[in-house]
């Protein structure tokens, strides 16, 4: 294939256009049984918090038509163990790494960024603001332009690194462009979108919500049209803001839709569960899709659907 698939997210050059989506590839190690993760655009790690975290009660998942719900509740080992084990493994294996962070309040985000700013091997930061703010009656940071901006300003103020800071946006808002504007002004280098949609399945035998956490996040191809729309809207409003696109990408054809809508690179999430080789397969398919349409590079297609 003679199509140039390299791309970038702000200052971060990516040799390949497909990344893993946060929470859908842990920290890369398990996935390395199915492919060389150092050849991916990057591994975006599961959102890490300051403290170890047990997550929510099970069941934590429900399959839904062309999608699934999850309510993991950010189970993770905490930042210390993450640095010692996960990040160390990623570095040792030369994996381009974007670390996803999540906090219960603005300060925790700042603290995580401060810690990560000091260590090697962090090629980018994805700030998962699609989690509840315990200090604001559990309202999700990403659902409010002010708290979203506060998180980003705080992270930015301690982030003395060239590695880009991305804000991960939630689609569960009346106006996603407003949120994108707000985090752009607060200084992000790009946005990741979309996170899951809030959903629920009822267990009609037990007559209660099926998931231990009651509600869960809807992901997978079911939500793809929502993701494409959100990316298209944000790219139209902020054409210079790099976008890492995600939401139900299953094939190179899907990935091309995201790129054409304005994403500079894509993350593969839920589809990995059914097809662990998907991040590599999709990059390859994307190359073929571009080639068959006569394009020489991925970069010339970014946002192209806005011109017609």
């Amino acid at each position: 294939m003679n199509v140039d698939l390299s791309t970038s997210l702000g200052s971060l050059q990516l040799s390949a256009p497909t990344l893993t989506a946060s929470g859908c590839a842990a920290a890369g190690k398990e996935l390395s049984q199915f492919g060389d993760v150092s050849t991916l655009g990057a591994v975006v790690t599961k959102s890490i918090m300051l403290e170890p975290r047990s997550g929510r009660a099970t069941p934590r998942m429900a399959e839904t038509p062309s999608g699934m719900l999850n309510s993991i509740g950010l189970q993770g080992p905490g930042i210390e163990s993450f640095l010692e084990n996960d990040l160390a493994w990623l570095r040792a294996n030369n994996v381009t790494t974007i670390v996803s962070i999540a906090g219960n309040n603005v300060e925790e985000f700042g603290e995580l960024a401060r810690i990560l700013a000091k260590v090697e091997g962090v090629d980018g930061l994805e700030v998962n603001i699609s989690c509840p703010n315990v200090e604001s009656r559990g309202q999700v940071f990403a659902c409010n332009p002010i708290s979203a901006a506060q998180v980003i300003e705080t992270v930015r103020s301690v982030w003395h690194s060239d590695a880009p800071v991305l804000a991960k946006l939630s689609p569960d808002v009346t106006d996603i462009v407003e949120i994108a504007h707000s985090v752009a002004e607060a200084g992000v280098d790009g946005v990741s979108m979309i996170n899951t949609l809030l959903g629920m399945v009822i267990d009609v035998d037990k007559m209660k919500p099926l998931l231990g956490g009651r509600t869960g996040g809807l992901s997978g191809p079911a939500i793809r049209p929502v993701a494409v729309r959100a990316i298209y809207q944000v790219h139209a409003a902020l054409p210079h803001l790099p976008i890492l696109g995600m939401g139900g990408i299953r094939t190179g054809h899907d990935a091309l839709e995201f790129i054409a809508a304005g994403a500079s690179a894509v993350s593969i999430g839920t589809v990995v569960f059914g097809d662990p080789g998907a991040p590599w397969r999709i990059a390859n398919e994307l190359g073929l899709e571009l080639q068959s349409r006569g394009y020489n590079s991925l970069s010339e297609v970014i946002g192209l659907a806005h011109q017609n």
Partner: protein
């Protein structure tokens, strides 16, 4: 060996009681140990089902074939039941941590409920190969839901059957006969696979009777390969700390005395990283 994603042609699919026995051409498969499972794609092209279904590997010949036993149940397994010899399916195998085998030729009991018997013939052979005595208890709600009785009779030192409705063997539960069996043979290890409630009861009987137990659990899994964290249950580690362990890669086989059976489906308040009063 590490798991492989493979396209396999169905060699045969045959009803066995309430179950279907599927034999797959699996030229890429390596050695499989008892307790390993396979994850099968369902629904085909353009299908609305994204997640694989997990099945214990019943048998396998390296470089040749792989067998599973399944119950047509929900949407995915019903689809699988409509497949025929010659059709291709996508599987990942072998997955998970298999049963830990004893180093010494001790007396063992195998206990299985329903399709939980699927991996047990393989296990019985391994144990017998190590010189172990193997007694088996197979239970089910009713006769058609029993699996593997004849095959296990061919391998094991004894086989007891129990059914809830008495349509075959002893009327009752596997645990009704287990304590006696352990006592009688001075069994030192119990290997179990079946519904969670059965595993819990078996683990307790084993412990009460001084035996070690290995239980293959069944939790809802989204990925089966350790990346999603959906399949967890509270398990006590060597350090005494309870963690929400992934049943797909840390299991599905766990020590029966290490699983906090009463707390399955919850996050115990003393678990590693559990919410503290006043938030995290």
């Amino acid at each position: 060996m590490s798991p492989k994603q493979m396209k396999c042609i169905i060699r045969s699919i045959t009803p066995v009681g309430s179950y279907l026995h599927m034999v797959l051409d699996a030229p890429e498969i390596d050695e499989v140990a008892p307790g390993h499972f396979a994850a099968v794609s369902v629904g085909g092209v353009g299908g609305g089902m994204l997640l694989r279904r997990a099945f214990s590997i019943h048998k396998s010949t390296p470089g040749d074939s792989l067998d599973i036993i399944f119950a047509p149940h929900g949407q995915g397994t019903q689809w699988l039941a409509t497949q025929s010899a010659g059709d291709e399916i996508d599987i990942i195998a072998p997955l998970g941590k298999p049963f830990v085998l004893p180093r010494q030729p001790i007396a063992c009991v195998i206990v299985a409920g329903g399709y939980g018997a699927a991996p047990m013939e393989l296990l019985a052979r391994e144990l017998r190969g190590r010189g172990c005595r193997v007694d088996v208890v197979l239970g089910a709600a009713t006769q058609e839901k029993l699996f593997g009785v004849l095959d296990l009779k061919g391998v094991a030192d004894s086989v007891i059957v129990t059914t809830d409705d008495g349509t075959s063997g002893v009327r009752g539960r596997v645990t009704d006969v287990l304590a006696d069996l352990i006592q009688k043979n001075n069994s030192q290890a119990v290997y179990a696979c079946g519904p969670m409630a059965m595993l819990q009861a078996v683990a307790h009987v084993a412990q009460d009777n001084g035996a070690f137990s290995q239980c293959a659990v069944e939790e809802s899994m989204a990925c089966g390969i350790g990346v999603c964290m959906t399949c967890v249950l509270p398990v006590i580690g060597d350090d005494g700390v309870t963690r929400m362990a992934r049943s797909c890669v840390d299991g599905p086989v766990f020590r029966g005395d290490r699983v906090r059976w009463d707390d399955v489906h919850t996050v115990p308040s003393d678990a590693f990283g559990a919410p503290r009063p006043g938030g995290h």
